[in-house]
Symmetry: D2
């Protein structure tokens, strides 16, 4: 319980259901003096917003965010920042068909087992709609991190069987798939068309890269930087796998290959993905994640209802054929929240540390 | 900072360096009335203990655990349980050669960047020696979980390029590799011999399976069961990747394949790995993790010293050619700690919940 | 930092400044199935609301609360409950006179020393206006506690030199002072008139009593029930002292007097105030608190400005001559939050405890 | 549950029963580079140690502390510091007489109601013996705070009806009562003799003063500095009341008297006790606390046993006639822990704050 707060010093507490009155977040522990307007938040929210292209759900949400506290005369004051996004596109459709139905692959069944009750409209709290607030909170963190020279970028590197051969994160910002390999855009487009026709969906793989991260962030032995990143990314809807650096490939590697040699002019490689012993090394942080295909598809599937009886289900409404697309800004936001929190934690304990005097470039 | 406590209600706080006086843990929030003796802990500790076979480090540690509090007349009292393991095999060797050297792939450099100082003997706090206390604490959790019908088993499923074709967790308990495929034991033996000869090391992949987990555990949206498992496993030394169910393979799957159909007599498949929406579904929990090959190898490598000068390093001492072997009981312990914590969390908030009356078998 | 969350399992996170857009709270960890409407919250808010009598500030705030999430079809769902109260009476007065002035007895100076900046309008975050959200959150807790037979009442027992000789908490609900001794109402009225004339203010003492609290709540050695109550009450604006049972009088007592004898039919006395060893005994919980007189008075006082220069200050605006009056429902709310949290904590760890079979009546 | 950790960034987790194998503490989040030896801890422990004078319990405990981790070559390393004190004077007396008896004024009954079981030997976890670890942990904090110019002193200001007329904290260090008024020592001595003869005990009042505290510590609205001090002090065994500055006297004060005027050369008074709006003002922090008389007295009293039957009880063993005496170093330690934690918290969020450029002297 009380699982809706993320972070230790820079904390983000969120609330809100898919079809309730609105989404709320309180960000506590934000340093004072950061210039912040709704426009800063809106820019990030718009990247995640549904209905941006024909590749995502047709749900129309303005996702207009309001700052309710913690900002005065355009700057943060150090007091908690409350954010509000009203839900606008709550079609008054009839949900009675899924009220007592447990859609396979969804959280309907587990929410009922946990709480004995659920807001069944549009997935309620289990809907990815809540991630809007992660993106808004992440935007605040990113604004602060940017001033420290820390930059976070993500891109999709796989959608179904289409795998990126290039990791161009700048290019990823310029296509509707956030795909890092522009040469694959036609294939992606064709794939989505085929999926929409088939009434099916597909999974995805995303890479997040953070550059400019100073060495020294992370709090072993449990609150390691990579452990907190793993939690942050795995907490995103539909994510089933998380890795750092070479990830699962390390199982087949030898120590002589994996260990990244250090030289006065830099690391020779980055198999570790920027973390050693749970602490940032100053190299690029590299994290990968995989998202399952959404279970909201029109192809009928077998399931049960609340009474435990066999049923068939087919999701008619609006849905993303690949939820991985809109997850790109969410993944960036979650990594930003982790870095922000660890930056403050490192500063608290080790403010007086005598640095060794240099950092490997 | 203060990153050495794991859990919210069932908390484990650990301390101790590889070559300091000893390892300590305080387990707080343990339910009263559990029968507990040092023998219960020792049994699990012995599985992780170094020097058990020719496949692991030759360091000899009795790893004898003492219970200092929280147990009275053979039962837990609900007050904190303190555990102590004295370090015994601290060879008074000369560490001056690594005092100012940053071994590649190790945490030497990052600890110095973070704290400005480190206990360089045997890796200090960054040594996997601290995981002994995770195993001891996990043994308490497992004892309680067993009474609830929850059983946690793990096994190695890949070592280097040798990949298990069978997932026999019972068999895994009976070989020195904890390997789930007994038909590969000769290959594994040959591989370790070759590695020791070459002075190299190799990575590994481990699977953890928990059965008997009731539906309803996990606290969305951030403290999801899978998110906490991801953090728990990623916090183990050398782990670089974590996944649930089909893991990274979901990127290539379609929704019609991935979603596990539900029927009155059970789920038709388990692509999800036992978690839906961050909450346990009652299916088997399936988590995979990958460990990098240890960087402590005799093959010389390039690195720098504290002064930033280029150096060569070759680790002579005792080391595990595959740290993944001894990580099997550690992974089990970490999953046990997560389940224990979430069992108590679920009970706190939802004690009065009207269950839906059945659980899919 | 991140000091705006109260509680461990039943958590309340608040935000909002006196003259910002509004006040927000997110209550996380609330059990599902509680019937809850805005009317439940409004009833408690109205007790705290300014402008209710001539004894409190003339500021007019509707204090209309909106539930933004966590409630579905009239019942809590177990997901976070977000509350919003818009500030309506933000007179567009000119605050330039206090912008750079540090009012004595106020938090102006300390907020600037802490954050380097502050929202100076009406005290900003330091205003007691934030306590509206404590009352709203407390109303949710009280609703749940009432179902468990736990009832929390408070009353003012001293205002300035006027001291209650009766502790009639029912009567306290029926006068504008929440005073427990109705025979003093004329004196209180006369005192307030005199204070308003003199442009001064006065302190107060409040007693909170909780009945029906089961034995066993409290988590020694640090999170004792009385320790958490002490924190809860001391965190209310203007509170300078907190005590349990006989409070400071115990310093002069002897053990033979203080210890409350136990008999099969009940405790013989309640010097302890319902807590032994940090755990509730089943007796009435009795807590006292004292609030300082507000520093917002028209009598001029010496102070400094941001430049460190000597200044005179006189607070003209609307103010409560005795902030203790409106603190009565706030104190009740804070004790409710503590009890709610500890009820859930006790349930988590000790659900299976074999009770000793009876509770001293 | 899990109530045995104090602090947010500088955390202290303790364990141990009165007559178990020993007491343990893990201090996490300690800055690196602090010179620390067991002698630093022992000096403080010796002040609290039983058997120091004829005024305290005759129990003989060496209270020899061992540092098990976190210190290397005489300095803290930033990793968790584990401390161990073995219990030595565990007379193998027969406890069968109190095994099933609930001593009035003690936690016997409440522990059994909470946990269903208790270690009844010498009070188990509820014994003040656990406070030894608070003192040891506090000694680490005090060492660090001293380097920042922060000094914490306490003294007894009342024992029974004997009330100090002087507040000489230096003098308090030089008498066995830690009494701040040396002129009362003969009265105190006579009082203790009389109490021992009568087989009774007496309460006490203690004042803690911290000087050199910078302005800006405290995290409103819940984690105020004074709120955390209130919790810290109320968590000490036998404490029933806590106050800041003028404490309960503020109820009778007027705003024109209470508010401390500020001038360029300093505050004109310190009614507030060094805290405004939950944040330190730079003035001396002044906190008072009251401890009840111990219930362990030889005068027989009425109570019940586990079966709920009426019984008489008379505590024969060794006991302190005034537990307030030895609480003086404990109160200092708890205030040190709060200040240490808040110093780190302030540093985390507000490291870059532009100070207003001066602090009122």
């Amino acid at each position: 319980m009380a699982g809706n707060t993320f972070g230790t010093l820079f904390t983000v507490t969120t609330s809100g259901e898919s079809h309730g009155p609105g989404l709320t977040a309180i960000i506590d522990g934000c340093p004072p003096g950061i210039e912040l307007t709704t426009a800063d938040l809106q820019a990030e929210l718009d990247r995640r917003k549904p209905g941006q292209s024909r590749y995502t759900t047709a749900r129309r949400e303005a996702d207009e965010v309001e700052i309710l506290s913690g900002v005065f005369e355009g700057k943060t004051t150090g007091t908690p920042i409350a954010l509000l996004i009203r839900n606008t596109d709550q079609r008054s459709r009839d949900y009675s068909n899924i009220k007592d139905l447990y859609r396979p692959g969804h959280a309907d069944y587990t929410y009922d087992q946990k709480y004995g009750v659920r807001d069944y409209r549009g997935g309620g709290r289990a809907s990815a709609r809540e991630t809007a607030m992660r993106v808004a909170a992440g935007a605040i963190a990113r604004k602060y991190l940017a001033k420290q020279g820390i930059r976070i970028q993500a891109g999709m590197t796989q959608m179904g069987t289409i795998i990126a051969e290039q990791y161009d994160f700048a290019a990823a910002q310029n296509n509707a798939f956030f795909f890092t390999d522009s040469s694959k855009l036609d294939q992606l487009d064709a794939s989505i068309r085929e999926l929409l026709k088939a009434g099916d969906s597909v999974g995805a793989r995303i890479r997040v890269v953070a550059s400019g991260v100073p060495a020294g962030l992370g709090e072993p032995v449990f609150d390691r930087l990579d452990a907190d990143i793993a939690k942050a990314l795995m907490s995103i809807n539909a994510v089933k796998a998380v890795s750092m650096g070479d990830g699962f490939d390390v199982a087949a590697q030898r120590g002589s290959t994996h260990r990244d040699a250090m030289t006065p002019t830099g690391f020779s490689s980055n198999h570790a993905g920027g973390v050693l012993g749970g602490i940032s090394s100053g190299q690029e942080l590299i994290a990968d994640l995989a998202l399952k295909p959404t279970s909201s598809i029109t192809i009928p599937g077998n399931t049960i209802n609340r009474a435990g009886e066999a049923q068939q289900v087919s999701t008619k409404g609006r849905h993303d054929p690949c939820v991985g697309i809109r997850a790109v800004p969410i993944a960036e936001a979650m990594v930003a929240l982790v870095l922000m929190d660890h930056l403050l934690r490192q500063r608290a304990q080790n403010a007086e540390v005598q640095p060794i005097g240099y950092q490997i470039p």
